[in-house]
Amino acid sequence: MSPDKLVYMANQIGKFFASQDHADGSKAVDGIATHLRKFWDPRMRREIVAKVRAGEAGGLDPLPRRAIEQLAAGE
């Protein structure tokens, strides 16, 4: 699966949840992480986590990045 595509999809999700959060972004981060857990196949989550860990997710927006870091911490 193309990591770039996963980054693009994560950013799309991030934009929706960012719009629901007018505070510090933690609600958005939780929303993104929950969405990824509920709807993404584990291999997709593993790939994007690996990409972030490897520092290869340069195009990832800040809020989805925090959400994926939250996912990584939970693994």
Binding site: S2, S19, Q20, F39, D41, M44
Partner: protein
Amino acid sequence: MALVEEIDYGTPSVHSDTMVTLTIDGEQVTVPAGTSIMRAAMEMGTKIPKLCATDSLKSFGSCRLCLVEIDGRAGTPASCTTPVGPNMVVRTQTPKLEQLRKGVMELYISDHPLDCLTCGANGDCELQDMAGAVGLREVRYGYQGENHFDSVKDESNPYFSFDPAKCIVCSRCVRACEEVQGTFALTIDGRGFASKVSPGMNESFLGSECVSCGACVQACPTATLIEKNVLAHGQPEHSVVTTCAYCGVGCSFKAEMRGEEVIRMVPWKDGKANHGHSCVKGRFAWGYATHKERILSPMVREKITDPWREVSWDEAIGFAASEFKRIQAKYGKDSVGGITSSRCTIEETYLVQKLVRAGFGNNNVDTCARVCHSPTGYGLNQTFGTSAGTQDFDSVEHTDVVLVIGANPTDGHPVFASRMKRRLREGAKLIVIDPRRIDIVRTPHVEATYHLPLLPGTNVAVLTAIAHVIVTEGLVNEAFVRERCDWEAFSEWAAFVAEPRNSPEAVEKISGVPAQTIVDAARLYATGGNAAIYYGLGVTEHSQGSTTVIAIANLAMATGNIGRPGVGVNPLRGQNNVQGSCDMGSFPHELPGYRHISDTPTRTLFEGAWGVSLDAEPGLRIPNMFDAAVGGSFMGLYVQGEDIVQSDPDTHHVTAGLAAMECIVVQDLFLNETANYAHVFLPGSTFLERDGIFINAERRVQRIRRVMSPRNGKADWEITQDLSNALGYPMHYTHPSEIMDEIARLTPTFAGVSYAKLEAVGSVQWPCNEAAPEGTPVMHIDHFVRGQGRFLITEYQPTDERSNRKFPLLLTTGRILSQYNVGAQTRRTENVVWHEEDQLEIHPADAEARGIRSGDWVRLASRAGETSLRATVTDRVAPGVVYTTFHHPMTQANVVTTDYSDWATNCPEYKVTAVQITPSNGPSEWQRRYSEHAGKSRRILADAAD
């Protein structure tokens, strides 16, 4: 087995709180005030002779056959046009009436070809019946007078014949076209003796505006309008009630049979979705079931470049199972999956997801709703708490304002559209939000009050601007919101939509819709009485599809238009069982009843019933499957009745994914485009050949019934069961009703559904359980399923698919009336006379700038690919927008669509593709190559199975 007889009460039923008692032929009868004497008589079993009356049409009073005598009244009034009165005393049979009726019949018969023995309607002719009923024994005028015997037949329609010589000019056909269908294609031309039924301006049926719904044929009391199949084969001898397998309206039909041969499909009056109406597809386009291209034997091949080899069922099933096992052994248990079909029954989709979860041991199951209404599931679940429309179709009869967005009901859901048009003719207002001037914007006796022709991709902006007007002008139903919704979430939403950037003026710049039109539409929706939103794939198939569904739900909640008849949020489902396939756990993240796979109590319930341990993690969605295949982690796929190559976006990407897989099993009626990439072909059965249940767009659970033996030898549920058994996960169902019983045991919203229940009541709408034993026509009446309704902010995010100098136009796609989805069924019927190829609609200004005229071949190119097709120059589309359908594989419109998708669900963005149009000489090189590839892929070795 016999024909299912329906009682014709002569005039429609009347609803009234006041009851009236009268006496007819010495017997008392009590009926609602306003009921006709004719209907009152029939309610007590007394048939008054009639010709121009039938209970699907308003009374007309022209044939003068239904005359009665009423004590205290002079003359002999027509019983069809005379309402009952208190204590009225009516006589339906007197010497005077007998004489009058005979006289009327003599006049009719004097100008009627008396070829009854060889007439197509012999045995089913009301004129013949009435001649008998009135005791006609002679025609004093003779048969030599002026007549219409030499009138020319119109055989232009592929499905029915029009013989004016047999016409009694009762106007039932004309009135059916007006009142039932709402097309107004027929009229009575001329006066007096010269009166004749005329399609349009004396055109042929095929050349007129007739949409071939069949309402006129059904209404005709003689053989004037009659199915060609009846002419060819004779009258049916038995019938079976079943459900149409086309769109999500779910029309009930009587399959009228001779032995195992369908003679005709006649819409069933007691069908609660269609109330006796039909469209050209359900009524006539079922001939694909016996089409010569249908595959009836299982086939296998080692490589997709090999020709197919016909084999036994055992060999095909065994080969498929061994391949799936081999792949799982090599690549892991998550390397295979399945796709359920919305054309199959709920029992069959349930079995496929069960096979994937219990047999494969993963959750890699998805359904074709992924590419149509998955955002409906997400959006309505988030806001209301369940993934379904809120109303029944009858609800529209109580609607004052109809808002249609991203749907084309007259083409996609024609039978419901007829009911919608009838309500609009009664005075309801219409708002249409659509880039195209779809037919319902202006059609006979219906005109939208407002049409918002927005640029593709700006739904969220426009709906949020409508919300802006509602909030800033104080049009919110605050009492409803305070009582029923999360007030804090509402307050945040209200503050958001009120921001100036969401104002109509700001959104005009984005959407192209004049600000004042947005304001007017918002005011009408919020203040016009009961307002109902109907939407389709023009809402969901966008990168913000789920956000748009949420925006729709927000509007309904803010204005209190939810929880009673006449209002609500109504997704118009594309296929017959989209609702049902979603209900049955076809999505990779949830079990039947929309319960997430991670929910331990639910998973435990299924684990107990199925005797396996279930994976708690969601599986791959269809687009993810193609990505994973290209990436090498997904290598085997079981496809039940879906042509993903033709229907899914970005064909090059889809075929790359399929080509990368090691085993694809296709279960279908025909060698579709996906089968070109398959290794095993399992021939499926049609809806006429099996028992089961479809669930329509209004959550209505309806039976389909087997009327003929499966020509392929097995019903689809049996094929899935065989495959599961071969995989090592045993299934032992002997009838679909047993599968339904299992569904009911495991799914609370279906707990009260059983075959026995459906036999007793016809159909029910889920939830159907202890709390609602007769089903639930309207949802969220006292509270939302999730408790409080939840407003969510709908920030507009422009799609990344943008027009530029290279691709300056925006393509949007859709369907037309006569064709269905990828056309696999309808292309194999006479419906091709209305649409033999996909065409590109282009505005005159854009066409002129490119030197394109109607009928010219044009090249349609996007960033994803290109194809060629013929152009139709029309101002139905706005400048800058082009439109086409995806019904024909040689056009492959999805070659040009991209893999952008909805943020929440990955539903593809079919509705926005930046394209360029240029003149072309004919099919593209890609189309020529594809044609050659398809031809090679469909080769079948001459040797038959042992």
